[in-house]
Each structure stands twice: as structure tokens, then as C-alpha cells.
Symmetry: C2
Subunit: 551 residues, 2 copies
């Protein structure tokens, strides 16, 4: 067996190591265009910021170590230029010498990754404009930051963009983010990103939404990014973080099929249309685990998994990639945002039925010091309660709850299962009713009809004359500190005595701070014959939809 692997980072390196474990006799050659294999892509922003202090920490392994331990023929600075599928060989170019040569294969794994997009705007090739993909990129960026640049513009407020923003701020660089969409972190639903936007602004980051870079110009003291609105942003450093496109040239030129967004088409065994050619990692199109649709998810975990599966299949092991949930997490200053499965906007786009629930719990018992708030949003099927997706934003414990929900999603569990979950509880770790249980209670109460709920954005979006009566059941102090316009205030503890103040012929939308008192008030009202529903997630959810507060 002679196995060639194109690309030596996440998927390629995993495939190579797995292949060697399965076969001591196979000839395994890894071609990597860059000088490094298996480096820590996800750590690059933190090297810029200095959190990761030593560059060598970013080298997960080296070509030498792969050779010694796995008996791999690792050829760095080697570019595979073409595939001859009929002859089962590739043409390789040694970038150091320029020499070209052919290498035959029995099986070929393509793991070329994805390349950062560079928009075709005027000035895009000026010096000082960077993308961030590998160690060479990060060296160039860090060199500038170390040299004392004062102003950076980051185009794109996705995961990597915001990680870089945080690290620029940590280094004292005044940073502006330009994002095409009307929110940061586009994979999340907009309202869930409100706290992220607030913390970016709190840390002095200038965030321009619904803007794009139209041109970049050289100025006497650096660059100027001109955005759609006409605003001109001076910068010493411009980062393009607007997404990636699969490196599919080799595959396309070899006649292999790619999807509409350029991802190489593969089956569940990671085989392309040619059964001797596999493809894995950021370059491939995968199946969305929730929707079943084709998608592209450039994440390290699935890439490693796919590399392993391709090697398994080549060496006769059962192998099946189940698709990806797109579980992802990002830290932005003191906050964490994470998600798994489908977002609300993805479900709307696909016109799939769903309901949703919001909870605003603390990460652990409130009576133990240091509890940090979070918001969890879950999306579920309106009849079966099957979990479709989840998002969370807040302080400590966000990643834990999304991991729990990711497993629930993988297992096909419902919101009724969330009610029953037995999770770790001691006061410094969780609550007797964990945030996950609370989300389950709210969602299951909705589906059982015990707890009728309305979505706050539906209530506040409708014309005031058509709105239900808004009933705020918090204390007068809470009400005075901020409320939904048009609401009347009757604290839940007074509600039973003041029922006659409420109309029997009008819908009532109840709310409190997070939904819990509103739930009790709704139960009281409905049992007394009022047409009441609870605004899911309460005033805190309303604030998420209203968007960030002015500082």
C-alpha cells in the first residue's frame, strides 16, 4: 500500500498517524506546501496577544518527530501540482529547489485545507494587509504589533476576527471591526451576540456593522480603509477575516466534483467520486447533522475525525462520518459564546418548524460567591421536542452547557430529556436545578401547554394597537429601572389581590426579569380565566433583542 497525503496539518496529520498505526508496512508520504506540519491554528491569535509566549508552543509536532515516531515520509515545502487519476500519480514541486517529480499512489488523501478570502477591492495588495492562516502569517502580524502599530482594522467579525481583536486590544492597539452583517459572530443568532457587542465596545473596540471595506489606500502614515458609508478608517495594519474558501483547485482540475460553495464532494467514507481519492478537512463539503443538507464547516475537530476515518476505510476498517453539528466556542474578553446544531436563522432559512426557549441562569449556585450570568437559547421541534440547536453567551460555564447540549443533540434527545438530566452539583460547580434543567423545564412547559409563551420580538415588533396588554410582574423598583414601553406593573406577589385590574377580553403578555415569576403569574392568570402568556426569557431577552446599550 502506497498512500499519499496532500496537506500535513489537522486532517492530513491525523490521517497519516492513524494510517501508520494500522499498517507498519504501508509507504506513507505527506506533502505539505508550508514549512510546518500540524501546527496549532487555533492558537495563532493568542500568540499575537502574548498569551502564548513561545512560538514553539504552536508546533504541535514537527516533521522530524513524525518521521521518527510514525516512520512517515514527510516532505515540507512540497506542493502537489496535479493529479493524474488514470495513471494514479501526482506531480510534486519541491518549492525549495523548483524540481518537479511524479509520485504514484494506491490511495490518495487530499487535506489541503481552506484559504482565507481576499476581496477583490482596490488596494488589497498593499503592504500591511494580512490574512491569518499559518505561522508565516502570524509572524508577519506579530512583527508589526511588536514594532508598535497603533491602529488596526479587522474586516470580518467572525470567530478568528474577534479573537484577533481581543489580542490587539491586549497589546494596546486601537482596533476597529468592520462587519458586513448586522451582527458580530454571524453563525449565532443576532440577539445572542448583543452581550458580545457590548463587551467589545466596553473594551474600546469600534464596531461598524452592515459595512464593508470598499477600498484600501496608502496614506502618509499607513493605510486608510474606506468603507461603504464613506467613512475612512486610518490603520497601520489591516486584517482580512471574512471567511475561507476550500482549496479545491487540485480536485477540480482532476475532474472531481465540488459543491456550490466549492467544497470537495465526498461520501460518508470521505471518498470522492474516485474511490482511490479521499478528501478531508476544511476543503470538503459535509452533511449538516441536523438538517441533512450539504454544508462547509471549517473546524479542527471534524477535520481530525475525517482524517482518522479516511485512514480507517483505506485499511479496511468500518468508517462512517455522521456529519457535523458545527459545535464551536469563542472567548471575547471576559465573555464566552458557543453554539451547536442549527441556529434560528438557519431554521427559518430552511423553513423548518421550531420553537425556542431562553433562560438566564448563573453558572453555579447564587449563594456561593463568584456566580456569573449566562443566557442559553435552545431550539427544538414544536411537536416532538427534539433538540435542533443551542447557543449560549456569558461567563464561566458556557462551554460546559453547550457541550452537554451537543451530546443531547447527537443522541437525538428532547427537551423532556433535559428536564431529567442529572448533572454535577456542588455550589461552586452548578445548581441543584442546573441551567440545562431550567432550559428543559421552560421548553417542556411550553410544549405541554402548562406554560404558554410568546416570543418577545413578536410582541415588541407588532403595532402598539395590536399588541397584547404587557404586564410587568417585577417589583416597582425593577420596573422603574427599565421596562418594555407600554407595560403596566403589578408585582407577582400582589397579582392574586389585584386581578380585577386586568381585562378579561384582551390577550395579556406577562413578563418578569428572566421568565420565572412570569411563569407563575401566567399560571395564576390562566387558572382565573385570563388569556395570558409568558414572554419567554423575560426582560433580559427583551434587552438582547433591543441591542447594546449606548455606553
Amino acid at each position: 500500500m502506497k498512500l499519499l497525503i496532500v496537506g500535513g496539518v489537522a486532517g492530513g496529520a491525523s490521517a497519516a498517524a492513524r494510517a501508520r498505526r494500522l499498517s507498519e508496512d504501508a509507504e506513507i508520504i505527506v506533502f505539505e506546501r508550508g514549512p510546518d506540519v500540524s501546527f496549532a491554528n487555533c492558537g495563532l491569535p493568542y500568540y499575537v496577544g502574548g498569551e502564548i509566549a513561545q512560538r514553539e508552543k504552536l508546533l504541535v509536532t514537527t516533521p522530524e518527530r513524525l518521521r521518527a515516531r510514525f516512520k512517515l515520509d514527510v516532505r515540507t515545502r512540497s506542493s502537489v501540482e496535479a493529479i493524474d487519476r488514470a495513471a494514479k500519480k501526482v506531480r510534486v514541486r519541491d518549492l525549495a529547489t523548483g524540481r518537479e517529480y511524479n509520485e504514484t499512489y494506491d490511495k490518495l488523501i487530499l487535506a489541503p485545507g481552506a484559504a482565507p478570502l481576499r476581496p477583490p477591492i482596490p488596494g488589497i495588495d498593499l503592504p500591511g494587509i494580512f490574512t491569518l492562516r499559518n505561522l508565516q502569517d502570524v509572524d508577519r502580524i506579530k512583527e508589526r504589533v511588536d514594532a508598535g502599530v497603533r491602529r488596526a482594522v479587522v474586516v470580518g467579525a467572525g470567530f478568528i476576527g474577534l479573537e484577533l481583536v481581543e489580542n490587539f486590544v491586549r497589546r494596546g492597539v486601537a482596533t476597529t471591526v468592520v462587519e458586513l452583517q448586522d451582527q458580530v459572530l454571524p453563525p449565532l443568532d443576532k440577539e445572542m451576540t448583543t452581550p458580545i457587542l457590548e463587551t467589545l465596545r466596553k473594551h474600546g473596540v469600534s464596531v461598524l456593522l452592515e459595512q464593508s471595506a470598499e477600498a484600501i489606500e496608502a496614506a502618509t502614515d499607513g493605510l486608510v480603509v474606506r468603507v461603504k458609508s464613506g467613512e475612512r478608517l486610518p490603520a497601520d495594519l489591516v486584517i482580512l477575516g471574512i471567511g475561507v474558501r476550500p482549496e479545491n483547485r487540485l480536485a477540480v482540475e482532476a475532474g472531481l466534483e465540488v459543491g456550490p460553495r466549492g467544497g470537495i464532494r465526498v461520501n460518508e467514507q470521505m471518498q470522492t467520486a474516485d474511490p482511490d481519492v479521499y478528501a478531508v478537512g476544511d476543503a470538503v463539503e459535509v452533511r449538516d447533522f441536523v438538517s441533512g443538507d450539504a454544508t462547509q464547516v471549517p473546524l479542527a475537530g471534524p477535520a481530525n475525525r475525517q482524517g482518522r476515518l479516511a485512514a480507517d476505510h483505506i485499511f479496511g476498517r468500518p468508517a462512517k462520518f455522521r456529519g457535523t453539528q458545527g459545535t464551536a466556542v469563542v472567548g471575547v474578553f471576559e465573555l464566552t459564546a458557543a453554539a451547536t446544531g442549527a441556529s434560528e436563522k438557519a431554521l427559518r432559512r430552511a423553513q423548518r418548524p421550531f420553537r425556542k426557549a431562553y433562560v438566564h441562569p448563573a453558572n453555579h449556585a447564587g449563594y456561593y460567591p463568584g456566580a456569573e450570568p449566562m443566557t442559553i437559547k435552545i431550539l427544538f421541534h414544536p411537536e416532538t421536542g427534539k433538540l435542533l440547536g443551542a447557543q449560549a453567551v456569558g461567563g464561566a460555564g458556557v462551554d460546559k452547557r453547550i457541550d452537554v447540549l451537543a451530546v443531547a443533540l447527537q443522541a437525538g434527545m428532547t427537551v423532556f430529556d433535559l428536564e431529567e438530566m442529572e448533572l454535577c452539583y456542588a455550589p461552586q460547580y452548578g445548581s441543584a436545578k442546573d441551567p440545562i434543567n431550567m432550559a428543559g423545564f421552560v421548553a417542556a412547559g411550553l410544549l405541554r401547554g402548562d406554560h404558554p409563551q410568546v416570543d418577545v420580538e413578536a410582541v415588541s415588533a407588532s403595532e402598539e394597537s395590536k399588541r397584547p396588554l404587557l404586564l410587568d410582574v417585577r417589583t416597582p423598583q425593577e420596573f422603574a429601572a427599565g421596562n418594555i414601553p407600554g407595560a403596566v406593573n403589578i408585582p407577582v406577589d400582589d397579582l392574586r389581590a389585584r386581578l380585577e385590574e386586568l381585562p378579561r377580553d384582551r390577550e395579556i403578555a406577562v413578563y418578569c426579569q428572566v421568565g420565572q415569576r412570569g411563569y407563575l403569574a401566567t399560571r395564576i392568570l390562566r387558572q382565573r380565566g385570563y388569556a395570558a402568556s409568558n414572554i419567554g426569557g423575560g426582560y433580559k431577552t427583551y434587552l438582547l433583542f433591543r441591542g447594546p446599550q449606548a455606553l
Copy 2:
């Protein structure tokens, strides 16, 4: 509907609140023997230590708040003395006045909890000997600590015992723990508690295992605890933390059935043999979710859940308690230990088939600063791979991994599902191959036969002449720093070149530090015809079984 609830803490308070949400018209009376309802039992040790500074933080709610919000008739300092099931009434004693009266019911929920055990040894009633159950207990203990006691003896090294130990040490009290078993934290398997024992000793705690308190005597300057070995432990304060027994007197006297360990027998709807009498919380016998056997699990989460379910059933909602996994967590100084499902010793006791796997990962990517090590042990069915239980001990991230495994257990997932889990990965939160994935790889490799493994305790327990050849594949430096007696050292990177040094006619047990290099070495050897297996979890697992190092 007239509903009486005996006990107003976790299960009782949850039942009362849920009942009111379901019915505005029901008459609901809660009898609580103590002065408080719904206090934070799990926080009590941290109030002693000062981490929770204000006593009122421990009051989750008050009788007044329950009255105002839930229209509950809360009667504190009220002891239910007897149940007359035929007449459907209870006899109540007002502890403040001594007055006795009857109260009728349509439905009755017993939530009396469990009482700390007091062993019948000489001197047990001397002043200065305490159990910890409620706020009155904690007041007495804290008063002593505040007054400057110097020496404490804690009898019992369970969860609450060790939490108190930590908090005594935090307050400068020299503390000795006396434990009957040969390990601390008896719900966990012994080897998993080695790091806990080490950290207790590191913090100056004296831990006496396989010892029991035989007598307590008054001395001129306090107390003396005499233990089985004859050793006499001077103490100003003695805490009994040896377990609890269900408060079943009311139930037993009313002719209701209890299990062999005293737990009130209930069905899946939390009904006793009398369908109008329910029981919930620490007082009841529940079904072990893994084994299906009857058990008792005094935990806050299940108690709350059972209270809720009893109310649901009373008011005509579908309700079914699925049993309990016993998910639990404890912090001991800088370490966390947690578990869910069956332990190895429980499986052995029940003679159920299982295999196990150990991994020793870091909580997040090693290239990001601050990664903390942990050990995860999973237990699974030897044919299907179905998860049976899990334990973890280490630093940050232990609770997250046990929560993930608790959900997997609830869902009936297998070790093959663990391989596929898509969990949060950014360098400060996890790894591209999360500790959970790693545990899945090891266990699945074992079941598929790709990765034959032997248990380290089996190897090191057998006579030296009958042992397999022990092959240490770590570096010479690692080998020199400590190894399993009798092992020979060939680093994995040299193994291919030195195969002829190894016997072809003898079993070889390979090990490295955590199992990963040992896995590769095993693969190399087997493909070359050697009878090799990997010692699961490597040298680190060996050290766990060897027990704590002398300081």
C-alpha cells in the same frame, strides 16, 4: 384538593411550588420541623470556612416569601407526629407551644429527608461532637471555629466530610480525618482517590484510613477520639460525617413499606403503597439507573425532581421518575472529583461484566497556558460498549467531562459515540480531540481489537515470574525518574530498530506515561508478530494504584 407536605427543604419545597403552579385552588400546607425552609444544605461547609460570608445567603427562600408568592400555608417548627391513613389525617405538634392538632388531607407528600448517623460509641453525647444537617448545626460548628478551636477530628471521609475538612484547614484548624474504608470518597473507586489523598496530606490534613472511632473521652483541654488502632486523637471539635439514614419513622409507623436500608418504597410516580401518600427526597429508596437495583442516593437534584414529579402526578400530569445515576461532584482544595453511574466496585459487587479505560488528558490545549491535568475513568459493557459509569479527578474541567458523560449515560450511548462527539474547542476551553474523544478512542480501540489492553493492577498484582515482560517505551529520562519494577526500557522511537531485543515467545505488556505511545508501540509489535498489549492509562494509572507518595 387539600395537600399536606411534610418537610420544606429540597423535595418538599419543590413539590409545594410545583403544586401551586398547577393549582391556584388547592389548599397546600407545608410542615417543617425546623425554623427554616429551603436552605442551601450544600453550602453549609463553605459558611464555616467563610467562603460564603453571610448567613442569609444560605436561605434560598423564607416561609414569608413562600406564603406571599405561592400562597402556601408554611408551618415551621411543626412536627408531624403520626399519620392516620384510614382517616386521611396527620397529627401535628407545634414545637413552639407544644400544642397538638390534626390536619386532614386528600394527598400527602412525605419529604422528611435523612438524618446524619451517630454511632453508638462511648462518649458520643459529649459536648463538642456535631453532625451537619441544617443551619442550627452549622451555627454551632461555626461558633466553635470562630472562637478559635485548634484541632478538629472529622469522622468519615465522604463528600461532606472532606468539604468540612477543607474549610477547617482554611480557618487554620489542624484537622484529622478518620475513615473506615481503605480510601477517601468511598463512592469512587479507590485508585481514583489517590490524588485527593495526596492533596489532603499536602495541605497538612492527617488522614487515617481503615480506622474507626471507638470511643470519645473528655480531656482536660477538650476531647480525645480513640480509634481502633488504639491511637488517641486530641480534638476541640469532632464532626460525625459517616452517612445518613432515611427519616422513615412516620412512614414505618403508618405501615408503609421501607427497603433494607430504610428508604421508603415508592413507585415511579413517587407513590408509597398507599396511593394517597407520596414520598420524595433523601428518605426514599430509588432505582439505580444503571443496574436497575434499589438504592438510596441522598442528592439535591433528584430530590427536587421527585418533588416536582409527585406534584405533577397528584394534579393529573404524566410523571415518571427514571431512577438516578448518582451524578456527584466535590471540590477538595485545588482538585475536583466527580462521578456518574456505576463504579467499578459496584459492578464487581453485582458481578456485572465490564471493561474500563483510563485517560490522563489536560482540560484544554496544552499549547495554551494554564492547562490542568485530569484523569478520566470510564466503565463500559465488554460487548456493546454501552457506557456504565464514569469518574474523573483533577483540576478545571472535571465537572464538564462528567456532565458530558452523565448525558451519554442517560442517552444509553456507547464508547463509539464518545469518539464522534463534537465538543467546544478553542484553546482555552478544550482540545480538537477532547478528553471525552480520547476516552472513546481508547475504549473503542480496545473493543475493536485494534488496541489490546491489559489492566495495570492485574499485571502488577501477579507474581513476578508469571508476569508478562514489562516494556517501558518512554524516554530514558522518564524511565529513570520512576518505572514499574522489572520493566525494560526501549523508547518507542527506537522500537522498530530494536525489535530483535524482544522475545517472540512471551507476552509483552507495553506502557508509556499515559497510554498513547504504548498504543503505537503495541501496534508496531503486534504487526511484527509479538504478543503485545498496552497497559491502559500507562504509568500514570500505575501510580494511582500504587497510592499516594510519601511527602
